[in-house]
């Protein structure tokens, strides 16, 4: 028993299985490859090694889709070939896969190779794995050399020092490869490789490579070196940083290509962490100022995202931000590019916690106000979304006067997604501003959303009402919201009448039994005779929803007759939902209706349409 003798030769001759892998239909071939482990299991470990793997190695020419699946499968095939002592059998097919053109396949093959490298014993690694890496590294076509770049790091720590020297030599060669594709691959793996090297070799080998790649003629290579630079800086002792990496990094921050500068801005936090507080203070802060003033909006956007400077030394953080960063931030607030302003708006509020109340009121508040009036809704939205940060520092009252016009404007924005976003902040604002301010200024807005022409907004508005009632209580609801909501039941537009029902669905529970029974239920019941079928079946659904809030006498005396009447409606969807409601509430004896499939299907369709309609 066990995996060794699992295959029954007469039942599953390899030819049949291989036929499956060769099927003319790509989809079937793909399915078979995805179940390769099943085939291997049927063959047993011995025949998997001697027959299946050679077949796979030989017939590697296939559609990339199939190759991708194969590369992935082989990564977890160790058990199926008989465990770690035979894992090297998997190398030949993966080696071929690591040389194909398609990047996705190659990357997957490299991933699988990295995975199984760990299952090799140190001896096998040197006998089987390292030679493969060397072959790839000196391949004719660039694909194999790119793949090799990703494999040095995984075998280096586990081989003898002579082999280590060879590996370093190969990596060096690839870093100065003729093809930019290979140099890009080497550049992107430089950081990873540096991490497994001994510190002396980091200094003697990696640093020159880093310097060379960071001044490559192609900006695509240079920008990848920036990321490597961050990893390398983290490995070196503080005293070496200045001589070994800083000149290169400084140069990258002033590169003539915006892509490289963008990368520096994008990796800024990591970079600060890697070089430590001293260098950050003296060196990176000026560089950062330049990035904030960069001529390309892309770079400014990336930099603006980092203005909080999380990694700055605790003691001098406030001073640095006040004296060096804030002046640039002030300029960015009136940048010409909306993405820059939008990025800034999403982080600028975070500065208030760092700078404290006085500075916030004096320096930041005016900036918030400018951004709140920005011409782009996204900028204003980002400010409003982060109001809670400021609230902690100075309280929202200070902002409310200037906040209000901005909110009102966003609430009426032409884009419904903007309106939706602002609705979602209403409960938060209401909580912070208090009930009086809310009633006076915002209540009418919340009610206006209920008759928005976009369904998503009406839906969000009902949900918003519920949250408001949770905050302000049932009594407030009864006085301010409920009358208006119920008033809409007489609207001439059936969509507005339905909104009443949806509001009741949402509000009944938070308003409690009394309000629901006394005020809402009569309206719902009255709507059961509405001339529009959609309203009637929503009455049925509404009754089911508010049922649990009502007491049993109301259910029996008032709800039951209405539902029974709706169950005999001439519209089949009304019928359907009335019956649903009846059975859902376990109130009555179920009438013996037969639900045919077509019946419920059409109901669902109709239901679907009723929601995608807009007036």
């Amino acid at each position: 028993m066990g995996t060794g003798t699992g295959g029954d030769d007469s039942l599953y001759p390899i030819a049949v299985l291989i036929d499956e892998l060769r099927n003319e239909d790509v989809q079937l071939r793909l399915n078979s490859i995805k179940k390769l482990s099943t085939i291997a299991l049927a063959l047993g470990v011995e025949r998997t090694r001697t027959e299946l793997l050679p077949f796979l190695t030989d017939t590697i020419y296939d559609e990339d889709e199939v190759l991708l699946a194969l590369a992935e499968q082989l990564g977890s095939f160790t058990v199926l070939v008989g465990g770690p002592e035979f894992v090297h059998c998997l190398l030949p097919p993966l080696e071929s896969l690591a040389t194909v053109e398609e990047t996705v396949v190659r990357d997957k093959a490299v991933e699988s190779l990295r995975k199984i490298s760990q299952e090799h014993s140190p001896v096998d690694l040197e006998v089987h794995f390292v030679p493969l890496v060397k072959r790839l590294a000196s391949g004719d076509w660039f694909t194999s050399r790119t793949s090799a770049c990703g494999l040095f790091g995984v075998c280096y720590p586990r081989v003898s020092s002579t082999v280590k020297a060879e590996i370093r030599q190969h990596f060096r060669t690839l870093c100065s490869d003729d093809t930019p594709m290979v140099r890009r691959a080497a550049s992107s793996k430089l950081g990873e490789f540096a991490k497994v090297l001994e510190l002396d070799y980091v200094k003697s080998d990696i640093i020159p490579l880093f310097t060379a790649l960071a001044s490559d003629e192609q900006d695509s290579v240079r920008l990848l070196a920036v990321e490597a630079g961050v990893s390398i800086a983290a490995l070196l002792p503080q005293e070496d940083l200045e001589d070994l990496v800083m000149p290169t990094l400084r140069q990258a921050a002033e590169d003539k290509s915006w892509r490289v500068r963008y990368m520096v801005a994008d990796k800024f936090s990591e970079l600060q962490k890697a070089v430590g507080p001293e260098i950050t203070k003296n060196d990176l802060v000026p560089a950062f100022q330049n990035l904030l003033k960069d001529c390309e909006a892309e770079v400014r956007t990336a930099a603006a995202n980092k203005v909080k400077g999380e990694v700055l030394p605790e003691d001098s953080r406030e001073t640095i931000i006040m004296t060096h960063i804030l002046p640039c931030v002030k300029e960015l607030v009136s940048d010409t590019n909306q993405h820059v302003k939008s990025a800034l708006a999403s982080v600028i509020m975070g500065l208030s916690t760092i700078l404290g109340k006085d500075n916030t009121v004096e320096h930041l508040l005016p900036l918030f106000l400018v951004q709140l009036k920005d011409e782009y809704p996204e900028v204003r939205l980002n400010i409003i979304s982060n109001l809670d940060c400021v609230n902690e520092v100075i309280g929202i009252r200070q902002l409310s006067q200037s906040l209000l016009p901005a909110i009102v404007e966003l609430a009426e924005d032409a884009k419904w997604r903007v309106r939706l976003a602002i609705i979602e902040y209403m409960p938060l604002l209401a909580g912070q501003l208090g009930v009086e301010f809310f009633d006076e200024k915002l209540n009418s807005l919340c009610m206006a959303w209920l008759i928005d022409h976009v369904y998503a907004i009406r839906e969000a508005a009902t949900c918003n009402l519920m949250k408001l009632v949770e905050k302000f209580g049932a009594e407030w609801a009864q006085n301010t919201i409920v009358p208006k909501v119920l008033g809409m039941a007489n609207d001439s537009n059936y969509l507005h009448r339905m909104t009443t029902l949806f509001c009741i669905n949402a509000l009944s529970e938070v308003c409690g039994q009394e309000i629901t029974t006394k005020h809402m239920l009569p309206v719902v019941l009255k709507m059961s005779t509405d001339q529009v079928a959609n309203v009637r079946f929503n009455v049925a659904r509404c009754l089911q929803k508010i049922g649990p809030v009502l007491d049993s006498s109301a259910l029996q005396a008032e709800v039951k007759p209405v539902l029974e009447k709706l169950a005999t409606d001439q519209d089949m969807d009304v019928k359907y939902f009335a019956l649903e409601a009846i059975s859902g509430m376990y109130l009555f004896n179920l009438p013996t209706y037969i639900f045919s499939e077509t019946f419920s299907f059409s109901s669902i369709l109709f239901f679907f349409f009723s929601f995608s309609l807009s007036p």
Partner: protein
């Protein structure tokens, strides 16, 4: 603001008229109109630098004596190295006009005069051209720029840049131009920077660079291999890494004429280019933008060396689009172009896999794909090839044709299929009758095979389940044995 014609039309109008004179009022006007929303890395960068020095008009070259002319020419070249910020529409207006007039005069000067290209002007010219055109291209204004749908961002400084390109072309085309002198300045680095510019979004600029590169390729033999290698790299990056490069069509156009000039037998390098770059390029998302040029290159190769037919067709079949009908139609078009020039012996080598694919296309639910494939039967040469090999092709095509003649939703397709069936019947009525007779049996056999496969996989899956439970049982056993062992040891040591 007047927007007269749809963007596609307007663009083609520009490139067509530029082929004639290189100057189009319309495109210049358009650039000015759109200035508000465009960037240029070069000039945006200069805004942080000190303002450009004012330049004042020098005397006209034609008024200068022949001894002064050379010196004045040099001065004017240097003057044209001063860069202006076209982002800013209000400052330096006078200097900008002076530079424009000077450039325009220089264009005139190098195209009408003989003997002006003495050695010292080469470095000056190269410097002036480099300063004006080489720059890191700015990020696209529209990150989701769709070259088929969106208006390209036009280069702000075009009023100057166009003249610089014009001047450079006239310089390269001047009868006195000496490549042996120029090669010191127009070197690998220069060409590399030029190639990067092909990524510009401005189609007017790409059109100029294309002509410039073509001239350079023609005149500098020493740079040819380098240019080809760098174009390869650009294409590989486009196919496998970024899927973004605006100048693919233009580069392919140049390559089309380069391939045309290849000597026979083809070098391995060129074959590799065909198989590893041109064929995989068919997988690109933006194929529609350069398919015509790409197909031209591929057909050029086959015309040069017909023995490449088999690998090319098999390559195209490998990358045949799975879901994109628009691309499928393009592939069918390219295959027809290949079939137009195919040698009958080569045709025999690929007919089976090819017609299996065509048979699938014919039965495509997308009527444009089906229609495009069925049009093959209107092509006399293809028809003759099919007739010659009907014993092989008829059985491949029959099943699907017969089926869709009854099932296809589109009446036009059904009509076309009937015609094709009729043609095939006339070619070999005996085989046709046999196929009709065995159609049902064949379908049943296929069904049976299908069932057998399902059965096989069902059994394999069962086996898998057994194995998994067996392994688990095994583990239990091992655990149990371990317990027994420890128990034995405890008892054996009293």
């Amino acid at each position: 603001r007047v927007v007269s014609s749809p963007p596609a039309l307007e663009m083609s109008a520009i490139s067509a008229s530029e082929k004639v004179d290189g100057f189009t009022r319309k495109s210049v006007r358009k650039a000015q109109r759109q200035r508000g929303c465009q960037g240029s890395s070069q000039f945006a960068a200069s805004s942080s630098r000190p303002a450009a020095p004012e330049i004042s008009a020098l005397p006209q070259l034609k008024d200068a004596s022949s001894t002064e002319q050379h010196e004045l020419f040099m001065q004017k070249l240097q003057q044209c190295c001063v860069m202006f910020d076209f982002y800013d529409t209000v400052t330096d207006l006078k200097s900008k006009e002076t530079k424009r007039a000077t450039l325009s005069e220089l264009v005139d000067y190098v195209s009408t005069n003989r003997g002006v290209l003495v050695e010292p002007v080469y470095p000056e010219i190269t410097t002036m051209v480099s300063t004006n055109i080489f720059r890191t291209l700015p990020p696209s204004e529209n990150p989701d720029f769709d070259p088929e749908e969106d208006e390209p961002t036009l280069e702000a400084s075009w009023p100057h840049m166009q003249l610089v390109y014009e001047f450079f072309l006239r310089f390269l085309e001047n009868p006195d131009f000496q490549p042996s002198t120029a090669k010191r300045y127009i070197d690998q680095k220069f060409v590399l920077q030029l190639l990067e510019l092909f990524d510009t979004e401005d189609p007017r600029e790409r059109e100029f660079i294309k002509t410039v590169l073509h001239r350079i390729y023609g005149k500098f033999l020493g740079l040819r291999a380098f240019v080809r290698k760098q174009i390869n790299n650009i294409f590989l990056r486009y196919i496998y890494e970024t899927e973004h490069f605006n100048g693919v069509a233009e580069l392919l156009e140049i390559l089309g004429s380069i391939i045309n000039g290849f000597a026979l037998p083809l070098k391995a390098e060129h074959k590799q280019f065909l198989m590893k770059i041109l064929i995989p390029m068919h997988t690109a998302k933006g194929l529609a933008l350069f398919h015509a040029q790409l197909a031209y290159c591929v057909v050029q190769f086959i015309e040069k060396d017909p023995t490449l037919t088999e690998v090319v067709v098999r390559g195209l079949l490998k990358f045949w689009p799975k879901t994109c009908s628009q691309k499928e139609v393009m592939f069918l078009g390219e295959i027809e172009e290949i079939l137009d020039v195919i040698e009958p012996t080569q045709f025999k080598k690929i007919q089976e896999p090819l017609f299996k694919q065509i048979s699938k296309c014919v039965s495509s639910p997308h009527f444009q794909v089906a229609e495009r494939a069925l049009y093959y039967w209107n092509n006399e040469y293809i028809l003759s090839l099919i007739e010659e090999n009907n014993a092989k092709i008829l059985p491949i095509m029959f099943g699907n044709l017969y089926r869709i003649s009854k099932e296809h939703w589109n009446p036009t397709i059904v009509a076309l299929v009937y015609n094709v069936l009729k043609t095939l019947m006339e070619m070999n009525s005996k085989l046709f009758d046999e196929l009709t007779a065995s159609y049902k049996c064949d379908r049943q056999r296929e069904k049976k095979k299908e069932q057998e496969r399902e059965e096989l996989w069902r059994k394999l899956d069962e086996l898998r389940l057994q194995e998994t439970s067996a392994i688990q049982n095994n583990r239990h056993e091992i655990q149990f044995t371990a317990e027994t062992l420890s128990f034995t040891r405890v008892t054996s040591v009293p």
